[in-house]
Structures are given as structure tokens and as C-alpha cells.
């Protein structure tokens, strides 16, 4: 058992809100991701059991979306927007700066387990570009100084 009882309860409660139980697959994946920070076949299986749907239905849905990765990431997942409005204000340099500062490659986990940096498509923050999302939160109007301060903060929180 990987998913906690409370996660399973939350999944079965959510399912009751939908006319058809399959609609609860995405919400269930969110619950699992929030609990563990990644997904696995074992979690698909447990979700399938709770919802009484097939394993492949869960696996197929999960594989389609970017928010349900199977790989583990650092404690802080930094997603830098690479799309047009952010790019026009230097987001490519932001990514390069972060990789250099954290001494890591795109998608990898830093040696201390704290950070993973990836690029993302437009995150709907275009008027406050350049921006990045760190776990659930948006950080906007970024500058070198701001990024330095944020990384220090994350490191001190551990």
C-alpha cells in the first residue's frame, strides 16, 4: 500500500461528486501526486481499485498530462516558463542562470536532493514575465537578484 487511507478516502469521496466514476481519475491522480510528489504503477493500481476502473484507464490518462510525472524530482520543482512573453524578457537566461547556480542539468535532481529545474510552456503569467513556478507557487517579474534571494530562502527552509 502506497497511498494513505486518508488519500483513498478523499478519492472515493471526490468520485461521488461526478455522474460517472471515471471522471474522478484526474482528481485521484492529483491526490496521489500531492501525497508523494510523483506517480507509480502501484499508485495507478490502488487508484483503479478505489474507483473500480481498469488499471490501463488510469495509466493512459496519467501518461497524457504533464502534471503526473513518474520520475521523482527535487523537493523544489522549479519550472521556468520558456514561452514567448517570458522569452522576450530573458527567460532563457533565467534557466541558464539557475542551472549554473545549482550546478545541475535540466530535469536532474541536485546532489542535496533539493532542486529540479525544468522548462514549462506558458503558465498564464505573461504580463508578469519572466516567471517560474516552484511546486504550487508562482514567482513573477523575476530578476537575478530575486532568484538569488528565493534560492537562499528555499535552502534555509530545507
Amino acid at each position: 500500500m502506497i497511498l494513505s487511507d486518508s488519500a483513498k478516502l478523499q478519492i472515493s469521496q471526490t468520485a461521488k461528486r461526478y455522474p460517472k466514476v471515471r471522471s474522478a481519475i484526474l482528481p485521484a491522480l492529483h491526490v496521489a501526486y500531492e501525497e508523494h510528489g510523483y506517480l507509480s504503477d502501484q499508485m495507478y493500481e490502488e487508484i483503479a481499485q478505489v474507483l473500480e476502473v481498469k488499471f490501463v484507464e488510469v495509466a493512459e490518462a496519467a501518461s497524457f498530462y504533464t502534471m503526473f510525472p513518474k520520475a521523482k524530482r527535487g523537493r523544489y520543482l522549479i519550472q521556468v516558463c520558456r514561452n514567448i512573453s517570458c522569452a522576450l524578457l530573458g527567460s532563457h537566461h533565467l534557466t541558464a542562470y539557475l542551472l549554473d547556480k545549482l550546478n545541475v542539468e535540466l530535469g536532474e535532481i541536485t546532489a542535496d536532493g533539493l532542486f529540479t529545474v525544468v522548462e514549462a510552456e506558458c503558465l498564464g503569467s505573461c504580463t508578469t514575465a519572466p516567471m517560474m513556478q516552484v511546486n504550487a507557487h508562482y514567482y513573477e517579474n523575476l530578476t537575478v537578484e530575486k532568484v538569488d534571494r528565493l534560492i537562499d530562502e528555499f535552502r534555509s527552509q530545507k
Binding site: F64, T66, I84, H93, G124, C126, A129, V144
Partner: protein, 429 residues
């Protein structure tokens, strides 16, 4: 000047609470609808107002509702499309975070008009604050008796379910949104049947954009004629424009339709960054053709932007100054469409990848002259040959940049580098 109809209260830090929203008039329209307006009359009011969809296509909202079969024994559904992911667009977020009760009330009114008793709020998974505020707004509306069974003694029942997406641009397309909501991969579906007749769980379904819905309380309270008095002859009301890129004051500006692009870019948005010359503007999100500086006096309404050769789309105005390399812009957008293609039809699945590869090659300095025609060929093969409009959207930036800036492509290929510098530095402070 801005016309703050939908955004009047969004800068009030407490507007997201039900108490403050009610102080500012929230749920009065909902009570009025329940007490005095029959659903057929409500549809007529919205038709008369001239309100058109704010999600991209600009389809008349009242007319779309009237396609829902009245005599169908099946349940009817409403979906609020809050998937906002068109590059350059962040205007729905202004409402979702700043005035969520206006969106909830809009959903209630639209649900009532079409006879829906279970409505879905589909929100892009990354929008964290929006999701929290909308969920709270819905919970508080239940607590006040504005949602649930026999609402305020009217005999009308309505539930709203919040559904978070999983990160996929295609799920903003209405049929893909429905697939996603049914628990499938977010694959687009062939139309017809249109969702209004056969949508979610094969039942009649209306999908409306956040901003479209947020207009409804105002139309109910102030009347169709009042609303029709805002804007131009065929483009009524206001729109929230997201202005981004090379301007001094990027931001979301709510303007009466028909406002001048020049006044927006050089007035409200403060002009071009570093006072450089303007190079091009994308007026309606990444899926719309570029406009050259000679179109700066275009009026911002559906018809005028179309006459200028582009589309009003999602209202996302992306401004680029002269140092922007156009091939690089095309490459960034091509990467986006390649990444977001749902893969269901071959021209889009393959074509978006090929276009990206070629653009990347040209941008990296290894382009061949025949690449330009190959790009046009691929774009041409995608256009009109796909299940949903994402394929067409992917072709747009390629075709438009080659048409307007062919010389830059040629320079890039001949010299192996940009004609202009496009190294936009990250600000130090």
C-alpha cells in the same frame, strides 16, 4: 481609459471573500433570475445583449445556448472553461483570483438558462490560487444557500463541481475538455455532433469561457440594451486584454471593444521598452497572425482585427521591438504546438514536429534555402486537415512570420545567424 466593468473590484484584496463580494452586489443577479426570469427569456436577453464568447472564437453566447435541445430528456451540463493556456493570455486569472464570485454567479446564470443542474468548473491544473479561491467561493455560495437543492425556495437545484486539469493546452479546446472531464486522455473529437447537442457523457453541454460568464450578472442587472451600448456595432461590451512582451507597463487592461491598439500600447501600456521601434504585434494570443507597425491604428474589436489580417482571439497582445529575431519567435511557438499536439491526427502530430525541427535548424545556423518552402508546404498540409483548430493554430505563426519577414529567414540561412540580436538579458534587479 479603461472601462472597468468586470475588473471594477479585482484590486480589492478582500473581493474574493463572499462578504465583500456581496457588499459589492454579488448574487443579486442570481436572485433576480430565480425570482423573475424564465429561462427562455434569459436566453433572449443574452442574445439581445450581443455578448460573444471571450474564449477565442467569439461565438454569440445566447445563440450557442439556444442550440441545447429543450425537449431532450437527458441531463444538460455547463462547463466553465478556465483552462487558460494560450501563450500570452492571463486575463481569466485576473477574475478567478480577484473576483471569483462573479465567475460563480455567471456559471449559475448560464446553468439556469440551459436547464443544467450539475455544472463543472474546469481549471488548468497549475492555477493554484485561482483553484483555491474558486473552491472556497463555491463552498461559501453553498453555505449561503445560493447553490444546492431548492435554491432560495425557487425549486431549482444546482451543483458546481471543481475539476482540475493535468497540464495540457489542448484541454482548453472544448471537445478535448470534455474527454478530459470524462477521465480520458484529453483528445479532441470530431464535430459535429456539437457539444450543445451531444457533449459530456453524450448529453447536451455548453462550454463557456470564464470572462464570457463573468459578464452575465451585469447583463442581468443592467439589461441587454445597456450592454449593447458598450463597444462597436458587432463587438459588444468590454474585454480584458493581456499586454505582454516589450512594453514598459505590461498588464491586464479592460477596455471597451473598439479601443485603439495604439492607445493601448503607447498609452496604457507605456510604450515600447527602451523606446525602441516596434517590430510586430501578435494581437490575439500565439495562434493569431502577426501585425506589422502599420496596423497600429487598428481598433480592437473582432471585425477590425480581422480586417487588419489577424484575429482578436484570446485578447493577448504580445509586443515585440526591433531587436526581436522573428525566426526565433517562430521556433518558440513551434516548440509549443509540437509539445501540445494531442497526437490524434497525423498532419498535426507529425507536422508540428517537422516544423519545429526545421526552425530549430535555421535558428541554429544550419538552414537551407529550400527549408522556407518546405515549412510553408507542411503548414499548408496541416491547415484545414485536422480534427481540431490546434493544427491550424500551429500553422499560423509559421505562415505569418514567413509572409511578413521572409527576408529575415533568408538572411538567417545565408549568414547562419540572426539579422538582429535576440539575446534578451534577464534584468539584474
Amino acid at each position: 481609459m479603461e472601462t472597468k466593468l468586470l475588473t471594477q473590484y479585482v484590486s480589492d484584496p478582500q473581493q474574493h471573500t463572499i462578504e465583500r463580494a456581496i457588499e459589492h452586489g454579488a448574487y443579486q443577479a442570481w436572485q433576480k433570475v430565480l425570482k423573475e426570469i424564465a429561462s427562455a427569456d434569459l436566453i433572449q436577453i443574452v442574445k439581445d445583449s450581443g455578448l460573444r464568447g471571450r474564449g477565442g472564437a467569439g461565438f454569440p453566447a445566447g445563440m450557442k445556448w439556444s442550440f441545447v435541445p429543450k425537449d431532450s430528456p437527458k441531463p444538460k451540463y455547463l462547463c466553465c472553461n478556465a483552462d487558460e493556456s494560450e501563450p500570452g493570455t492571463c486575463k481569466d486569472r485576473v477574475l478567478l483570483e480577484g473576483d471569483p464570485h462573479a465567475v460563480v454567479e455567471g456559471m449559475m446564470i448560464a446553468s439556469y438558462a440551459i436547464g443544467c443542474h450539475t455544472a463543472f468548473f474546469y481549471i488548468r491544473g497549475e492555477y493554484d490560487v485561482s483553484q483555491v479561491r474558486m473552491s472556497k467561493a463555491i463552498d461559501d455560495a453553498y453555505a449561503k444557500g445560493f447553490l444546492g437543492k431548492n435554491i432560495l425556495g425557487s425549486g431549482y437545484d444546482l451543483d458546481i463541481v471543481v475539476h482540475r486539469g493535468g497540464g495540457a493546452y489542448i484541454c482548453g479546446e472544448e471537445t478535448a475538455l470534455l474527454s478530459s472531464l470524462e477521465g480520458d486522455k484529453g483528445l479532441a473529437r470530431l464535430k459535429p455532433p456539437f457539444p450543445a447537442v451531444e457533449g459530456l457523457y453524450n448529453c447536451p453541454t455548453i462550454i463557456n469561457n470564464v470572462e464570457t460568464l463573468a459578464n452575465l450578472p451585469h447583463i442581468v442587472m443592467k439589461g441587454a440594451q445597456w450592454f449593447a451600448g458598450l463597444g462597436t456595432e458587432k463587438s459588444k461590451g468590454t474585454r480584458i486584454f493581456s499586454v505582454s512582451g516589450h512594453v514598459k507597463k505590461p498588464g491586464n487592461y479592460e477596455l471597451e471593444l473598439g479601443y485603439s491598439l495604439r492607445d493601448l500600447v503607447y498609452g496604457l501600456a507605456g510604450g515600447i521598452l527602451d523606446d525602441r521601434p516596434l517590430k510586430a504585434i501578435i494581437p490575439g494570443g500565439s495562434s493569431t497572425p502577426l501585425l506589422l507597425p502599420d496596423k497600429i491604428d487598428t481598433k480592437l474589436d473582432f471585425e477590425s482585427v480581422a480586417a487588419a489580417g489577424s484575429m482578436l482571439g484570446s485578447g493577448a497582445i504580445i509586443v515585440m521591438h526591433e531587436e526581436t529575431c522573428i525566426v526565433w519567435v517562430a521556433e518558440i511557438l513551434a516548440h509549443f504546438y509540437m509539445h501540445e499536439s494531442c497526437g490524434k491526427c497525423t498532419p498535426c502530430r507529425q507536422g508540428t514536429g517537422w516544423m519545429y525541427e526545421i526552425l530549430r535548424r535555421i535558428e541554429a545556423g544550419h538552414g537551407k534555402m529550400e527549408d522556407i518552402d518546405t515549412l510553408l508546404d507542411i503548414a499548408d498540409n496541416i491547415e484545414g486537415n485536422t480534427i481540431c483548430p490546434l493544427g491550424d493554430a500551429a500553422a499560423v505563426p509559421v505562415i505569418s512570420t514567413i509572409k511578413l519577414f521572409r527576408d529575415e529567414y533568408v538572411y538567417h540561412i545565408e549568414h547562419g545567424k540572426c539579422k538582429v540580436r535576440s539575446e534578451f538579458k534577464l534584468r539584474a534587479k
